[in-house]
């Protein structure tokens, strides 16, 4: 289900998206030139609307107060990002860097058996649970459903489930109607960003043991 990516990008362009889905959108944008082209149209639309706004007179002293603050303001040199190892920079697009201050190896990886591991990212907005999910090629995550929405961006490798195949840069949005079992394609490990806005439920027998562990 990727039909609603366009509306997610629309909400990202207008500034309406909260941190969780915005992280998924920004990661998708970093990986996909076509999504960036769409974002340019959306932002140009915002710019055109802004250009046509009826001006509102500002206080007489606002200019002087602003000029006072120009001196000593440092020139912008890019987003402040922690010093990261080359491997982390290679595997993760820039929007994720601030969430892995100690690199991929510095994350607290939780193992789900031998073939799946997951690390929770420090998202400030507590309504969301964002993780990096690493699945060994040929292996999968248990069958699960969602109460809310699950956003998945494939960072490397590829996976398939009941809804199709997803390669690096692909984006998937699943709602509560989807019960799926994502499996990494053979030959290469799959690394994904996942963002959940409500708890996930594993639906198999094993899931009953695991469900209590997946908490916000």
């Amino acid at each position: 289900m990727t039909a609603d990516l366009d509306l997610l990008l629309m909400d990202y362009a207008s500034g309406a998206l909260p941190e969780g889905p915005a992280l998924a959108a920004a990661t998708k944008l970093a990986l996909d030139p076509a999504a960036r082209a769409e974002m340019r149209l959306l932002e140009a639309t915002g710019g055109a609307l802004f250009a046509g706004v009826e001006p509102e007179a500002v206080s007489e002293d606002l200019l002087a107060a602003t000029l006072d603050r120009l001196d000593g303001a440092p020139a912008w040199t890019g987003f402040a990002s922690p010093p990261l190892d080359a491997e982390t920079r290679r595997l993760l697009p820039a929007p994720l860097w601030r969430y892995v201050p100690k690199g991929l190896d510095g994350l607290q990886w939780e193992r789900w058996g031998n073939n799946v591991r997951e690390a929770v990212l420090p998202v400030a907005d507590r309504r969301y649970r964002a993780t990096l999910l690493h699945v060994r090629g040929g292996h999968g995550v248990l069958h699960h459903t969602h109460e809310g929405l699950e956003y998945t961006v494939v960072l490397s490798g590829s996976f398939h489930d009941e809804t199709g195949q997803y390669r690096a840069g692909s984006f998937q949005i699943c709602d509560g109607s989807v019960r799926h079992r994502p499996i990494a394609d053979k030959g290469e490990d799959c690394l994904c960003l996942t963002v959940l806005d409500a708890p996930m439920h594993f639906t198999g027998l094993m899931g009953r043991f695991i469900n209590p562990k997946v908490r916000f």
Binding site: D11, S14, L23, A25, L29, E43, G52, E56, T66, A94
Partner: protein, 215 residues
């Protein structure tokens, strides 16, 4: 003079925030011509190269009142709106080197700065973003992109004006009031599917009219 005074005592008192000047004059001041857009772009260049305060003052006089209106439409009171205007204009000064007229119109660049300040200061939320300095992102615009973009931006304003009112309304609620399509559907009392299709129709039309001109 006496006639004017007589009228104002009869009619309802004008709202204090509405100027009573002619609407036509107001619109002339609001719309930015391509020549004016180029002149404003050159001001950003002077800030980037020479830290030119005179250029900043001119830019401030054009954009600060528009930024204030934008923030107030987004729900800020006048004082908060001016605080955010100040921060946005300081960001314009600091990031002037980052502005590339081949990639975005000046009004678009300033819109994105204003949008981000609004998220930061009004909503106090974190916005994950792509870093334009990320070496992995290399959408190099074609050599004639600059000309095409100037034309496309002018066309876009015209195209938005030609949209059906219900489609223009959802775009304005989204971009001026940073409402998600879900919130818009609740506020307008419309099914989510209706709002989605209005947004999609509007964007398809704009894409068809100017999409190929954007870098």
């Amino acid at each position: 003079m006496t006639q004017q005074a007589a009228i104002s005592t009869i009619g309802p008192a004008p709202a204090p925030w509405r100027r009573t000047g002619s609407k036509r004059r107001m619109q002339q001041r609001t719309v930015t011509s391509p020549e004016q857009a180029r002149r404003l772009e050159a001001l950003v260049g002077r800030i980037a190269c020479q830290r030119d305060r005179g250029a900043f003052i001119e830019l401030f006089q054009h954009f600060a009142p528009r930024l204030k209106a934008f923030m107030m439409r987004g729900g800020a009171d006048p004082e908060t709106a001016e605080e955010i205007v100040q921060e946005a204009m300081i960001t314009v000064w600091n990031k002037a080197e980052q502005f590339d007229p081949a990639r975005a119109a000046l009004s678009t660049w300033i819109f994105t700065i204003a949008r981000n300040k609004r998220i930061d200061m009004l909503r106090r939320q974190v916005r994950p973003e792509i870093d334009p300095l990320d070496i992995a992102i290399d959408d190099e615009p074609s050599p004639d992109a600059r000309m095409a973009l100037a034309q496309a931006s002018a066309d876009l304003r015209g195209s938005i004006a030609l949209l059906p009112a219900d489609q223009r309304q959802v775009l304005m609620l989204a971009f001026f009031e940073d409402k998600s399509h879900g919130v818009i559907s609740v506020e307008l009392g419309l099914p989510l599917g209706t709002v989605k299709s209005r947004i999609r129709l509007a964007l398809a039309r704009l894409r068809g009219m100017i999409g190929e001109h954007l870098p």
